[in-house]
């Protein structure tokens, strides 16, 4: 039963092991935000809004650089079973790792004593919602004009029916042998998020990393197109 997730080299949704799910990004969808984006990645539907940099009066704020805050949150209707609207421990951990994934790409020294907020709302969740959130958030940060060294893109790899596969969907995430989301800053050849659970040999781990990196290159093209689409349409926001 369990090894029915890949049949004749095709996955439950018809993809090959190294194929990405459909991925679509829109930029600049929320009026009040400094930057925003909307991503559909598989069945994930996620919205990201950036607020800031804004002066922070919080005691203990960093006086040398902007402080990045991040909230990853799932709407109650985003999951099969209704989700309690209160942040779960899972959401709190993911908020942290998303922040850690984005921060290396940003030049925060330009905005001392300020806060930059990344608000991620998962309207519908599928496998890989944290990866999709990072991909979308990086675009939204670019839309907000936050100076960055590179875009960040994320995708998961994992092992399903003993096979390495790219970009796990919900059922593969739950029933597969392992799941490993990775985020990249490709220009610098850097990894900014890396988590794994399940079991993998060292060789599988290394091969999976390379598979994820190849996919990240494709995702980066989609990110750039989304930004170009907005900024070539003459809606360019002032950097101020």
């Amino acid at each position: 039963m369990e090894n029915q997730l890949i049949v004749n080299g095709k996955r439950t949704d018809g993809r090959s092991p190294t194929e990405l799910r459909p991925l679509k990004i829109d930029v600049g969808i929320i009026k009040n935000a400094a930057g925003s984006s909307y991503i559909e990645h598989g069945k994930n539907k996620i919205i990201v809004a950036i607020y800031g940099p804004r002066d922070s009066h919080r005691y203990g704020i960093n006086i040398e650089r902007a402080t990045l805050r991040c909230r990853y949150h799932m709407s109650p209707f985003s999951t099969e079973e209704r989700k309690n609207p209160q942040p779960s421990r899972r959401e709190i951990e993911i908020s942290k790792v998303i922040r850690d994934a984005l921060e290396p790409s940003l030049i925060l020294e330009n905005f001392p004593k300020t806060t930059i907020d990344v608000f991620v709302e998962v309207l519908q969740s599928d496998g890989g919602s944290r990866s999709a959130s990072i991909t979308a958030a990086s675009v939204a940060l670019a839309d907000a004009g936050i100076p960055m060294k590179d875009l960040v893109e994320a995708v998961a790899v994992g092992k399903v029916d003993g096979t390495l596969v790219l970009d796990l969907n919900d059922i593969e995430d739950k029933k597969g042998e392992s799941d490993m989301p990775v985020a990249f800053m490709l220009n610098e050849n850097k990894i900014t998020l890396l988590q794994m659970d399940g079991k993998m040999t060292v060789e599988e781990f290394k091969a999976g990393l390379m598979m994820a990196m190849e996919a990240a290159k494709k995702i980066k093209e989609i990110q750039k197109e989304a930004l170009t689409r907005k900024y070539s349409s003459g809606e360019r926001k002032n950097d101020a």
Binding site: K31, S75, F77
Partner: protein
């Protein structure tokens, strides 16, 4: 307990808004009694039994409906349960802090709840699986994504469209076990309450206020009409007052406006 921070509208801008109203026009070009463009997408969340994405100008609201099973309240053993919850997300504006629902989110949920409940929109007596034991719980979750005024109408439209287009698998009692039916069914809908919201800015009564307008208004009045022309929910908002004559006038304006909006909503639903 504390009022939310309002949008800061400069004195110059305020003057400009009022001057425009004096000439019968809003600063965005609308007439005083015109709604902004309203765009409604039903069934946007496949994982929910019902859903709708409402764009009322730059006010964006998504509502999802989930159907669960619950124990009825002891005083209403023969009725399903309605739970309405709203969150004004921190994505919506720079003044919205993440955290548990604030008083604005709670008021929003409760006003939408009253509109649904008091219009008798849903026949809750038909949402009973086993009297006193198992009933359906209808969760209506409202996520405000973008904030540009008149949340009550946008959230209400999203909620009613999501409910009208909800389809769910019934549960059937087979020898004491609840078994999922084979075909999805709609909710037992029997009415449709339509919300319209008016604001008084300076001496002018306008419909569908933007956030900017709300920030300088005297007060706001939301009225929900049922299909028979009865008023079924009212909520005054804002930290000013309304003349008694204003209220009497708004009630009449709301009646005709609600008929207009009812047609829009019914159109969306029949095309869903």
């Amino acid at each position: 307990m504390m009022p939310r921070k309002n949008l800061l509208v400069s004195a110059v801008r305020k003057e400009q808004i009022i001057k425009s109203l004096a000439q019968g026009k809003r600063v965005d070009g609308r007439g005083l009694l015109d709604y902004r463009p309203l765009n409604i997408t039903p069934n946007i969340i496949e994982k929910a039994e019902g859903s709708a994405f409402v764009k009322l100008g730059d006010t964006h609201v998504i509502t999802g409906v989930k159907i669960g099973v619950g124990t009825p309240f002891p005083d209403t053993p023969n009725e399903g349960i309605l739970i309405v919850n709203a969150e004004i997300l921190p994505t919506a504006s720079e003044y919205q802090e993440p955290g548990p629902p604030d008083e604005d989110s709670i008021e929003l949920a409760r006003v939408v709840d009253r509109g649904i409940r008091e219009s008798k929109m849903i026949d809750f007596s038909k949402l009973v699986i086993e009297p006193g034991k198992h009933v359906y719980t209808v969760y209506v979750d409202i996520s405000v994504i973008g904030m540009d005024g008149n949340l009550f109408d946008a959230a209400s439209y999203a909620a009613v469209v999501a409910l009208m287009t909800t389809k769910f698998y019934p549960l059937i009692n087979q020898n004491g076990t609840l078994v999922k039916g084979s075909e999805k069914i709609p909710l037992p809908i029997q009415d449709l309450g339509v919300s319209t919201t008016f604001a008084k800015v300076d001496n002018y009564i306008i419909v569908d206020p933007t956030w900017e307008e709300e920030s300088i208004m005297e007060a706001r009045l939301t009225i929900v009409y049922d299909k028979n022309g009865n008023i079924c929910a009212v909520q005054k908002g804002g930290n000013g007052g309304l003349l008694v004559d204003d209220v009497l006038k708004i009630v009449d304006l709301a009646k005709s406006k609600s008929e207009e909006m009812r047609k829009v909503l019914e159109g969306v639903i029949s095309n869903a």
